[in-house]
Symmetry: C2
Subunit: 337 residues, 2 copies
């Protein structure tokens, strides 16, 4: 493969001049620039990107940490982030934490080892004090999670209000005994949603049931298991806040197998307005988040921080959510499928 | 930030010795190695990975090219590839081509510019002669697509046989007039599936219908549109090979809205056995591919090529598919949901 020296020899110019052209530096007249470019073309010279990146001290790569790419919420968010980053000439590395605090630290190390210029966390599995140490190595943006103590850019919806709205909707449909399901119990999202759920219950004096299996509910299979447990242990539950369209779909699927009427016997509300929530029969009432807008904002803020070396400080961007009312909850009012 | 010189000074050793320790090279006695490591710890020295990778001439990164991460077939394949790669200490960059030949070339350039050590293509949008040029820069593995002329490792199922099996199943359920749907018309997968579909028709003398809208059918919305077109233009179609669970789900969703009975009026077969195919009501008959096994094999073969500098030659790994018979096609025989 031709080297930078070969290009210099071919063009009859110094190595420094060739290097200046490759790195888009000033002080090279147009005529010499053209000679270098034409020699590079003739010889098929390709600048080594690791070398170039080393000189620039930039990798032009960002990492996105997410629990699992197979959850459509994260794959759609990832798709939008990748599109936006590529507009800015940045690559995106996908890092799946599989909900592990250790794996999260492994990926944060990418920042310290200068393998990425910045990092977006869509879920958080360590205390902020641990994560904060990595801010010295480069910018970190939180998208989706909101940690009270985080001194960085945070993009999210008001999870408490969203859970309040969804729960009030169940109550208004006549539900008397509710269940609150959640994914990662440690997450800020779970805490916020639980507090919105409880607020709605207190306002209306409605009962609720706790069960170990209602925690760590993340996918279709979890939803199916939970419906079985409810049927055996607490069949009086007539409304479920799931926090997940996948879990809601699993509950509804299993309910149909058992001849339980949705929403008459059991009303179910999902979260995220994934495609599945429209496709299920009955369709799933759900909270819609503006995923693409949130993804775009996260990438823009991160790249601004990378390129302008801004000081990290707390900046919050709160996006609006919408409650989509569909057949899995609508007992009183007929809605078009 | 401390430099390699600072570490050498602190440890009272030469820069060469420090460099040898960082790069795990021989000829350093244990006592000196410990002094270097302890100085690195005291000073908080972190080897710059770009520099290290430059020296190793390796990025320990592989790129996976896929059309869109929001298709569950690709997100599940990606998840498995990332898991397997991380066992080998490799990072994975996700590259979404959005079915564009130009974007595909952009990402192939990652190999030529030494930004990745190897590349897996799960779909192909250029002629092999164009892609072949990049083999000089590093190994490329095809997973999912099978190009006849490709002189590289190829991991796939027998798409022709899979389409034949699915079509024969529709015929055996009594379908008299079939439609063949496909995604990218240029792809080797479409050609193989079409030939399997036609073979089944010829064997049984069944009719079929062509329509422009039956090509480039990729997602739920495409499926909904196609059902509308069939109803208006060719309502006698009573069986559809979709090539996609998402398209099949869209067709079934729209059929339910219009009061069309699935499978009695219209039998529909999907592809990939995604979660949605079980959740839909009626559930979707579909062809299952062993995604995780195929993903694992692709990563293993690629990394062997990277690490052992093997000569690229054609090696084919053909995995078995299975037809899952569910309610969207089963007219005669009752199956458990």
């Amino acid at each position: 493969m031709p080297t930078i020296e070969d290009v210099a020899r071919h063009a009859g110019l110094s190595r420094t001049t060739v290097s200046r052209v490759i790195n888009n530096q000033p002080y090279v007249c147009e005529e010499k620039r053209q000679r270098v470019l034409s020699s590079m073309g003739d010889l098929g010279y390709v600048p080594n990107s690791s070398a170039r990146r080393l000189r620039n001290k930039k990798t032009e790569t960002i990492a996105v940490l997410l629990p699992r790419i197979t959850n459509p919420f994260f794959s759609h968010m990832m798709e939008a982030m990748e599109k936006k980053a590529s507009e800015w000439g940045y690559q995106v590395i996908v890092c799946q934490t599989h909900y592990s605090a250790d794996k999260e630290i492994d990926y944060l190390e990418l920042l310290r080892k200068k393998q990425v210029d910045g990092l977006i966390m869509t879920s958080v599995h360590n205390d902020w004090t641990k994560i904060e140490e990595y801010l010295a190595s480069g910018p970190i943006v939180l998208c989706n999670e909101n940690m009270e103590e985080a001194n960085t850019a945070i993009i999210h919806i008001d999870q408490k209000q969203a859970a309040y709205d969804a729960t009030m909707h169940l109550v208004e449909q006549g539900c008397k005994k509710l269940a609150f399901l959640c994914g990662n119990t440690e997450s800020s999202i779970t805490r916020a949603r639980r507090s919105g759920f409880m607020k709605a219950l207190h306002n209306r004096g409605v009962a609720f049931v706790e069960h170990d299996s209602f925690q760590e509910a993340m996918d279709v299979d979890n939803g199916r298991e939970i419906l079985s447990i409810i049927q055996e242990e607490d069949p009086e539950i007539d409304g479920i806040f799931t926090g997940s369209d996948e879990v809601a779909a699993g509950i509804i699927y299993e309910a149909i197998q058992r001849g339980i009427s949705i929403p008459e016997d059991l009303a179910v509300v999902g979260f995220d307005n994934q495609t599945i929530s429209m496709l299920m029969n009955p369709s799933i009432s759900t909270v819609e988040q503006p995923i693409v807008d949130m993804a775009n904002k996260s990438v823009e803020v991160l790249i601004q921080h990378i390129e302008q070396h801004l000081r990290q400080k707390r900046e919050e961007y709160v996006f609006d959510h919408t409650l989509q009312q569909r057949n899995s909850t609508m007992r009183n009012i007929a809605v078009p499928m």
